[in-house]
Symmetry: C2
Subunit: 702 residues, 2 copies
């Protein structure tokens, strides 16, 4: 079979697969799951057909509670029904989940796992939502990457239909749902061959139908309830084998091996880590890194979390293992340990050889999980009494749970090019970077990955695009710390952020600014100058705003900076890049008229002209901080201890103790008064003779 390659995010992969198996999608949008339902809705409107030759019927309800009720009712009506949700949305579905599983209905939930709000709301990735449903009787399947979403989403549908057990298929919110990666697409023909059409027919025949009326949803008394509740055990017993069988078939088709639990590492491993979803990719990189150093390590990736199959776990578990760390991406205060940890301990309790089992929490609120943290997890196992119930990724100086983080190591495959681009929300940086990835992913043999960090300010906030390109599939499910290329699309950032940390020696830095090469010495802070000189950084500047204005694009600098990106990173020959960029311009702006297309063409051409390479003066090595770079202000403690570091994007470094007294999520008010970001590209000047004192200076003044 010809491999079909496409660049997409996790949500698109799940939506694409689920569409094939879905008669009805009952939905209610919630971040970060909304794009799945939106795509299914769009494709349905476009006439796309599922495996049964029909368009998916999409029904949006008034809340997730209604959506799950519709899933339940629609399944009882004999329609294969799917929903997409996350976080509190999933919680609202819990009552119906018991009904759906209790009635053995093959519904499928695709969940972009997200934090359940506690002291604060967070829209980011975590498993607290999925873990709140582990007792509902749903089967739970986890995917670690966009490719796995593509490969396993179908397993959820196929197995649900064959086993009559509903499936919850999840992957990490944002980290996987919004990561763009180059994946191999599974053709609907494959699903068509795997689907048990006989089971579909039986499912439809069981539906509530006035032609063959039956009673369901009775109220039962103590005399019968327990017996009937136990009568379905056999269905659950079969699930692991059904899933394993489909995984085998998908493995044969794709060449990527899947099992309910997969093992990766040394055959004689002594220390292993057990984890689920995107964190596994980081663990895998670290395992490979340690294997290269000759360490006896390994990992078990949990795909089928419920039913939890001891058989399939021990099928892959190396008997040589002496110590295990179980990583949970959730926190259950008051428990003896997080859920996967308790499961693994329960699993080994009756084993003859009992390894040491340690549990840890990671990545809560989508704290980035980087190899240096996982290194500390393996190092923890090396000591005699490994710390249990630890945390990684933070410094817990209140209750001492955290492991000391190791130095950052680059565990991504050799030859990977990593880029970090700083943009301003709505300046087009993210969109342009997505375009770059699609160009490289779709037009070349290279693999590509893009992840985009937004802050909650959205438009006007800071965006950081993390891009990787390379010859091998890119699984690094963490931000770019070791960059070959850093671009800054807004000059004010040089004063606010530590832009260059992690830029490799001899790396490239490009700055969009209106400054002349001569002005740089004066404008750039000493720390940046020293870094550039010390690390032998290739420094470029471009006045992208002027270029954009010249060609008539106003402040839209994305095409300019995109061209610069292709020119400087040299991921593909720049001439090819220009050709592809212009194709994209045709495709994207063609509908808006030739004028717009031409403006963008010119932006591309001018960008190449206007890019300036700077000869870094020798004396930058000795640049000294000026007093005024760090003016000392009289500010409340909250500002100096929390708000300022967070605004500098150094919030990750804040220790737990800064929140002492604020454990309940209390923040002081009035902090906006201290915020001055200086991000405006143009600032109006007061012309006294013209002023009519309307007080709308920045908004309307000519």
């Amino acid at each position: 079979m010809v491999k079909k390659i496409k660049t997409m995010d996790g949500n698109e992969a799940a939506a694409y697969v689920s569409y094939a198996f879905t008669d009805v999608a009952a939905i209610y949008p919630i971040t970060p799951s909304s794009p799945m339902a939106e795509m299914v809705d769009l494709w349905s409107a476009q006439g796309k057909k599922n495996l049964f030759g029909q368009q998916v019927r999409v029904t949006e309800m008034q809340s997730e509670a209604g959506a799950s009720g519709t899933v339940h009712g629609s399944l009882q009506g004999g329609a294969l029904t799917t929903t997409y949700t996350a976080s509190q949305g999933l919680l609202l579905m819990i009552p119906n989940m018991y009904k759906i599983s209790g009635e053995f209905l093959p519904g499928v939930f695709h969940v972009s796992a997200r934090v359940v709000a506690t002291h604060a709301l967070s829209i980011f990735g975590e498993h607290s939502d999925v873990m709140a449903t582990r007792q509902t009787g749903f089967a739970i399947l986890a995917s670690s990457s966009v490719q796995e979403v593509m490969d396993l989403a179908g397993i959820a549908h196929l197995s649900a239909i064959k086993s009559r057990i509903p499936f919850l298929h999840f992957f990490d919110g944002f980290r996987t749902s919004h990561e763009i990666n180059k994946v191999e697409v599974i053709d609907y023909d494959v699903f068509d061959q795997l689907l048990d059409y006989e089971a579909v027919k039986e499912f439809r025949n069981r539906s509530l139908n006035p032609d063959r009326p039956v009673l369901r949803g009775t109220a039962q008394n103590p005399d019968l309830y327990f017996q009937q509740r136990e009568s379905g055990n056999r269905f659950y017993e079969k699930v692991p084998d059904i899933v394993a069988e489909y995984m085998k078939k998908i493995s044969e088709t794709t060449g990527r091996e899947y099992k309910p639990f997969t093992y990766h590492g040394a055959n004689d491993a002594e220390h292993i880590t057990v984890a689920m979803a995107s964190g596994c990719n980081v663990v895998e990189e670290v395992v490979d890194y340690l294997l290269n150093k000759g360490e006896k390590v390994g990992m078990i990736k949990v795909h089928l979390y419920r039913p939890f199959s001891a058989k399939y776990f021990f099928n892959v578990f190396p008997e040589t293992v002496k110590k295990i760390t179980v990583l949970d991406r959730t926190k259950e205060p008051g428990s003896l340990g997080e859920p996967l940890y308790e499961d693994v301990k329960t699993l080994f309790y009756d084993q003859e050889k009992q390894p040491v089992i340690i549990g840890g929490r990671y990545g809560l609120g989508q704290k980035d999980v980087r190899p240096s943290q996982i290194l500390s997890v393996f190092n923890n196992l090396k000591i005699d009494n490994p710390k249990n119930h630890f945390t990684i990724g933070i410094v817990d100086d209140l209750t001492d749970t955290s492991l000391p983080e190791e130095d950052i190591v680059d565990t991504s495959p050799a030859g990977t090019i990593s880029c970090r681009l700083w943009g301003l929300g709505s300046d087009g940086t993210v969109g342009a970077n997505k375009m770059a990835i699609k160009i490289i992913g779709d037009k070349t043999d290279l693999y590509a990955q893009g992840y985009f960090s937004y802050d909650s300010k959205k438009s006007g906030g800071t965006t950081i695009s993390h891009l990787r390109f390379g010859d091998k599939p890119i699984k690094s499910s963490y931000l770019v710390y070791d960059a070959d290329y850093v671009a800054c699309h807004n000059k004010s950032y040089v004063y606010h952020y530590d832009l260059l940390t992690g830029l490799k020696e001899n790396g490239t830095f490009v700055l969009n600014c209106p400054w002349s090469p001569e002005e740089l010495d004066e404008k750039l802070p000493a720390s940046i100058k020293r870094f550039i000189a010390d690390q032998n950084i290739d420094l470029y500047i471009i006045d992208a705003v002027s270029v954009a204005r010249e060609v008539g694009l106003n402040n839209r600098i994305n095409m300019v900076m995109q061209t610069v990106f292709f020119k400087l990173t040299d991921v593909i020959p720049v001439d090819d890049a220009v050709k592809y960029l212009k194709e994209f311009i045709d495709k994207t702006y063609g509908k808006k008229g030739q004028k717009i297309v031409d403006m963008n063409y010119q932006a591309v051409d001018k960008a190449l002209e206007k890019l300036v390479r700077i000869d870094v003066p020798e004396h930058w090595k000795n640049a000294e901080d000026k007093e005024e770079d760090y003016p000392v202000k009289d500010e409340p403690e909250f500002m100096t201890r929390i708000k300022r570091p967070a605004a500098r994007r150094e919030g990750d470094e804040l220790p737990v103790s800064v929140f002492k007294g604020m454990e309940d999520g209390t923040f002081p008010l009035g902090t906006t008064a201290y915020e001055k970001r200086g991000i405006a590209v143009m600032v109006p000047q007061w012309q006294t003779e013209n002023c009519i004192q309307c007080n709308q200076c920045s908004y309307i003044c000519p």
Copy 2:
């Protein structure tokens, strides 16, 4: 302090205690929790004061989702807030529970634990609802009996206020919430002395208030969320000590000893059971029974389930234990075991001496948990490879999970008088029995217990009242199997039900029927006649309907049968009983006028006159079943296999396999056609000459 004794059910005990600590009750009614909120509402309307000298403000919302949102908001407003719920109602509160715990707000939920609907709805007791909230960060406290509800409900409020962690306090729906028992009431003065008023003041000072504005409920990014989430660990660490300290003080006050985990049994026990809530009482009786037989057994009762404190568990755990059975009253399909079982295995994993740990499910859908089942649990531990993941109380002939049930043994304290009264829903039997318990409980030194089994037909359905009386506190949290006294208030039951099974030798049976003593031989089925003769039963009949009609009470036979009950059981001297009954009549019917009071007086007096003792004929021993007693009908398999046994109230005996093919809760329709209960006291006869063919014969025909 003078002991204040009162007869009440678990709901009233929880409502009484919670009222003291509550500023605002945000509620939405759901069975079996509704009476708690109703009582608080009533008392508030009556002007009852809480510890702060105010009436509770009761707010009923549009659903439990709204109620929990109100709890959250009200707590943020500085009001100590309480709610009462169960089952799906509790599930709707889950999203707010994360917020309430995340913001360290001392709310308290009193939960009458009930089945979460799966293949069928059930209004009865189970822990599936509570277990669905164990990850929310709430502390969870369990009570086993009405007295424990009285003693521990306050611990929940006191500890929540002191620790800032919200508490969920639960007890078994119906089994405890609706069991009437004689309890020692804790005076509000005691709570007043124990309450940490300083903590209350701090709580109120933390509230959202425009005079000291703060920001709460922020949206956080990955940079800060994890650290702040971990900053509250210290609050959780303190909870077990706080609870233990309050338990110590309540123990001192009440003389009943409470700890986070309590141990009961031999100091050198080898086999123990771990359980929560009302099932513990049955285990306790069986432990005492086995201790008397010299066996080395014991039990650990879990009071504080979350935070789960290893320290307090091992404080009471005897080191001699070799095998443990953990009983869970919930089912989590697809897990490695039910939650308490996983917790206990996790707890022991790192211990040097690892006992065998076995898990079992019991009492789902409030399947009655009787001593014979618990005996089988202890017997299971005696074999070399005890069955794990077992069930008790059912026969699982599909997946072989069930333990064989032992013979019924009477483990209740010697001298306990047990009674079973069969009534017809709305005939007043249940109300009259509650009156009897209150009379005996409040007027004498005897302890009393009443539990009332309804079927879902409610009015017109069958009610069975299970009453116990004795010198010692009555903890038997199960139905009456070994009765001293059986009363049947509806003659048709003799044809439908196995009324006498479990009636002790020389016991008493009284039947309300219009038959003369001479007619009995003809009317009574052979099986009943044989049982009466063989077991030397004291047989009485009374035509209670005639008595009631004679005195003008129509079909209301409750006062007649109540009098008979006191006469025949001899729990208290009958003259005293008559006096108390008449006092109750004054109190209950006084408002309705002297005529009604007099009618009831007469009913009491006439009942004593009209009661007839039957000399049981010797030949009843050889009574033979007549063909027509068991007419063979051509009925669908569902009728013969499930409906008929269930209608005979033998549904408990049905094995799991009868539900094969119906695992999803599917029942056939049209079964009412086969139901003929013959419960009407009067049946209209067709008088052709008068008939106007209005077709409303039974409803209106004179």
